[in-house]
Structure formats: C-alpha cells, structure tokens
Symmetry: C2
Subunit: 152 residues, 2 copies
Amino acid sequence: MDRAERLERLALLSEADATQTAMFQQAAAASYGLGITEMRALSILLRNGPQTAGALTRALHVTSGAVTGIVDRLVRRGLVSRAADPDDRRKVVVTVDLAALAASENAYAGIGEAFQELYAGYTDAELDFLERHLTASVEITARETARLHPRA
Amino acid sequence: MDRAERLERLALLSEADATQTAMFQQAAAASYGLGITEMRALSILLRNGPQTAGALTRALHVTSGAVTGIVDRLVRRGLVSRAADPDDRRKVVVTVDLAALAASENAYAGIGEAFQELYAGYTDAELDFLERHLTASVEITARETARLHPRA
DNA sequence: TGGAAGTATCTTAGTAACTAAGATACTTGC
DNA sequence: GCAAGTATCTTAGTTACTAAGATACTTCCA
C-alpha cells in the first residue's frame, strides 16, 4: 500500500479514536455523577500529585472561579480535601483522598480490562513502540493545546 | 523491564494521552467559536456522511432537544444545512457544507503537521501496527462507551 | 379506509458549569 | 510600612444541556 495513503488513513483513524475516547471519558464521568472537568481535575491530581488551585487553573485551562466550583464539588463528594499551605497562606493545596476514590465504583474497570486483553496479544517490541509513541503524542498534544489557548 | 510493569505504565500513559487529547479538542473547538459537542457532531458528519438528527442524537449520546440546538448553531454558522428526507417527511437530514468548512481557519493544521512529522520517523511495519492498534482501540472504546450509557 | 400507535424532530422551562469582573487576604519588594 | 503583586473566592450573567411534552408525519391493522 502507498505510504502517503496510509498516513492519511492513520490521521483519520487517530481523529476517530480521539473523538470516541473523549465521549467515553464524558460517559465515565457522568457514571460517577461528575462533570468532565471534575474528572480531569482528579486525573491531573492523581498523575501529578497534590497541587494548588492555581496549578489546576493552568492545567485545566479554566478560570480561577471555575476551579473554586470544581474543588467545592469534589470536596462535597469527599474525593479531595483542601489544606492551607503553611509557607504561603494565600495558597490552598488540593489533595485526592485515595481511600475514598478506591471505595467508589470504578467505571474504568471494563475498558481497562479490554485494553489489557488487547495488549496481551502484542509483542514486547510492539509494547515498547506503543510506549514511545504515546509519550511523543502526549508531548505534542500538550504543546499544541497550549498554542491554541491565548491566555497560556 | 518487567512486562506487568510495562503494561501498568502503558495504561497510565494511555490515560494521560486521552485527557490531553480531550483538552486539545476542546481548545480547538473554542478556537472556532464552537462547543465541544458541535465539533463532535461535525466530526461524525464528516466521517460517516450526511445523516438525520436522530442518528446524531444516538451518536452523540445527547437528547433530541440538544441536537436541535447543535444543528441550529451549526446552520447559523453556515457549516451544515438541513434538508427534508423525500421518503420520510418526519426526517431531517443534516449535511456538512464542505466548502464553508474548508474556508474556515484550520485549528488542526498545527497538530496535524506535528503528527505527520512523528509518523515520518516510523517504519512501514510500525505504521501498520499503529493502524491495527487504533482500529482495535476505536472498537473497544465505542463498545465500552455504549455500556456506560443507560439509555443506549 | 380510517384510526391508534409509533417515530422524528422541535419547543419550553429549568439546571449546572462555565466566564468576566472584582473582592478579599496574604506576600514581596522598595 | 506602604504599594504592587499574587492566590483564591464571590457574584452576576451566559450557554449548553436535560426532561417533558407538542407537533407532524408514518405504519399497522381491524
């Protein structure tokens, strides 16, 4: 098959995967009774550790007012907690309550298993390639997202 | 490296990629002055061709009332048009105006180029693997999304 | 053939999550 | 010690959604 043609098909597939994945995330968030932005905030807190409201503002590309509401709602559900920063009392550090999170239903269990099953059929070399590809993809996408945000 | 450990890292990376990609999509939609759901509707119309409002309702997992608003806004921007189905006059078929779309700014140009550059460094075998992987991923994700939607 | 049931879309009222602007509380630098 | 800067929260308004139901058309069956 022609290489240019393959690249074209890959771009389309990649776009379809992105749309489908975003819709899954929204459905998963809804199944927890959370909004998509609250879910993203949780994801960022889990991945990058406890951080201030300001850091979440920048990571989520929303206003500080929105973050106040997001953290309020997560606190009300007992999924995160706010704590004053002893070094700078203007700051508020948000921390995920891992025990509470573990105790809640896991909407990701099904898809996680399905992907583990898919990966099981891959060779070590293929897994290695996929890891390198995803790392590059995250880097590119984060950079291009920042480019689209005038305030960034 | 241990295989179980690699699978664990891959799952985390995959989640990070999904979150980042969703945020890019939202930023791209906003740069067109569109909402994320309008963008998804356009994407579905482009990928699967002209279809009825009802089909969009099912594909987007939103209510029929929401689709009315989404199509209204896209029509107002001149990006799509409504047409009566001659065979069933209850139906309204929505079609993308490709010329209008091509004439608008392309927020995807930058990321598209970045990925083409990434792909340029891949072998034919790697591209082939990626295509098979994405195809499987779209299939799994669509199935798992449907599972999370009670109305589906 | 005509009426009941079903289907497709749109309308309306209400809700939730966002933005923009500005208030409050604290910190830093001169 | 005061002015300017920073971090978060508050308030008012907007937007895109849902739920419920109205309208218009189609299908099925006695």
